[in-house]
């Protein structure tokens, strides 16, 4: 509908393929491969099917929670309440089970409960426009409190051994837990949605500039609202998983998990300010933390060192990209006359 102009196009085509992979994510993925290689060679007992099983099964809750957390942080928000939602759901799960309901009924109910808990965050953040950091610090306390209200000083542990050990089933002799498969499928779905759909595109735009996103017709409030609901529902899955895997529903289940999840997401190269980040990087971040922890525990590195290492990596994750960019400009400056 526009008249073609005579001037030549000024825009060159240099769009790289796989443009969503940037340097830090590549670095993290290489770090994962390196740490697997080094640990296999130097840590006895690391490279074995049984250890693979231990390692992967411990990754499941963090990996699950990291998926919606990535999307939420990309939009510039944060959800600190996920572990409390998981704990709350775990207690409700336990009390419903104690009341004699069947799993077929309890599980959907619990997922709905998680979604509703997430929706409360969603309403406060997207409808009332409150800052999510403050809101979810509040709901972190609220849902953990409700978990204790539900079960009080009780712990429900009457889950049949068949279920609890069934969750640990492995694929043949590979040591890979069966239940990692649905988690991987879910991760792929999240990845495709984030990187190859308009919805996913809009998340970064929201994270960088909410106002501009709104002016481009993106439904900012609805998008955030749904992300919090998804986050709540996934947290409910983690609550259910936690209860059945450990065979114990109690108020303090999954306490403190939110910080591990956020640490992994940030290590994966997601900017806490929103906008920047991708899912392959995040998954690499989750796996890297898991491998390091496992390998170093096997190598009898004490807990305090592990804790310092986690902190150090986290800082490195944000400092390194800046340092690289800085050194690049330095070298460029010195190379130009």
């Amino acid at each position: 509908m526009l008249a073609e102009t005579t001037r030549p196009a000024a825009v060159r085509d240099t769009a790289p393929r796989l443009g969503f992979l940037r340097s830090w994510d590549t670095a993290i993925i290489i770090a994962v491969l390196l740490s697997i290689a080094v640990a296999s060679a130097t840590v006895t007992g690391f490279a074995s099917p049984r250890n693979t099983g231990f390692l992967l099964i411990d990754l499941i809750p963090i990996l699950l929670l990291a998926l919606p957390m990535t999307l939420i942080i990309l939009t510039g928000e944060i959800d600190l309440s996920v572990a409390s939602v998981a704990g709350f759901v775990s207690c409700v799960f336990g009390s419903l089970w104690g009341a004699g309901l069947s799993l077929e009924l309890i599980i959907p109910l619990c997922i709905v409960l998680g979604a509703v808990s997430g929706a409360v965050n969603g309403v406060l953040v997207s409808v009332l426009g409150l800052p999510s950091l403050a809101v979810t610090i509040g709901t972190l306390a609220l849902y953990r409190g409700l978990a204790f209200v539900v079960l009080g000083d009780q712990a429900v542990t009457s889950f049949p051994r068949a279920i609890t050990s069934g969750l640990q089933a492995k694929i043949g002799a590979s040591g890979i837990p069966v239940w990692i498969i649905p988690v991987v499928i879910l991760a792929i779905i999240f990845g495709v949605v984030l990187h190859f759909t308009g919805f996913g595109r809009s998340l970064s735009a929201i994270g960088y500039s909410e106002e501009a996103a709104r002016f481009a017709g993106i439904r900012v409030a609805q998008t955030k609202f749904w992300l919090f609901i998804i986050s709540g529902a996934v947290a409910a899955l983690v609550g259910i998983w936690w209860t059945l895997r450990y065979g114990s529903a109690r108020g303090d289940n999954a306490t403190g998990l939110e910080l591990s999840v956020i640490a992994a997401v940030l290590l994966g190269g997601v900017s806490i300010f929103g906008g920047k980040g991708n899912l392959p990087g995040v998954i690499a971040g989750v796996v890297l933390l898991g491998i390091l922890r496992n390998a170093l525990q096997l190598a009898r590195v004490p807990e305090d060192t592990l804790s310092m290492l986690t902190g150090g990596l986290l800082i490195l994750a944000v400092v390194a990209p800046n340092a690289i960019a800085w050194s690049r400009t330095l070298s460029r400056r010195s190379s130009t006359p």
Binding site: D304, L314, V319
Partner: protein, 340 residues
Amino acid sequence: MTTLALNRQPSAAWLGTLTRSREFSVFLALAILVTATVAANPRFLSAQSTKDLLLNSSILVILAVGQAIVIVTKNVDLSVGSVLGLTAFATGKIFIALPDLPVIAMLAIGIGLGALLGAVNGALIAVAKVPSLVVTLGTLYIFRGVDFAWAQGQQINPSNLPESFLALGSGAVLGLPYLALIALAVVIAFGLYLRNYRSGREFYAIGSDVLAARLYGIGVGRKVFTAFAISGALAGLAGVIYAAKYGNLDATAGQGLELNVVAAAVVGGVAIAGGVGTVYGAAIGAVLLTTITSALPVLGVSPFWQRAMIGALILASIALDRYLALRTERRLRGHDKHAG
């Protein structure tokens, strides 16, 4: 339009500003809570209980002041719990090594150590230009790890600490506990500084719009560094006080405290988005949170409900903030129409 004096009565305006202020609404909540609790049990305001309330809140108040300064610059310091733990443990170790060290020197050492740890945060954030949430989440782990590695399960007992030092934790002048006086001095000093001094206002400028602050020639990096050093120093002070108050110390002191501190500041009207809030508000927020923990058992609320109620309170207070902000915005709009 030739004379631009806007019609406002100074005295009424003063009162209006006060009652509209965010600090006032937190204070009101505190007053209601205390009144309700006293109605249920008059002993809640007995001399001893008042002293207890003041003592209990002093550590959180000091931490909240530091946190408020950091949040005003649009940052956050999650490492305060770990800094407190590390300095508290260091206090014990130093007293074991130097039993005759004067208390005042110990306070200075604690502040210095805390400032050093805060400076580590500040340097990383200001020099490497990385987000404070991530850096302080990292140093939360690192400082605690150092604490654990140093302590190796060791415990400091009151018998390791000098009498005069323990007296600091429970003593009082004229019914006012020393700790409350220290906390009050901290609040007033930083309150005056942030409100009435050019360099204090610069913290707000940075939090309000960091780009604009750069254009104004404000040394943003140095200022952010200072904020973290202050927060660290106050956490160090709180660590020494913690040691004096509880006497029994291990490496876990202050674990998980960071969220309470952030919550106190937020409840006190310090906006997480930066640029808004006062240390007075943060301090009242801290007192409010502590008072709730003290009042709920007195009111006979089941212990299981306590945490849930604190969560609900945080939500209520940020919702209130939002409501007040919207009201102000509407007022400004209306005002503009008159002026335009």
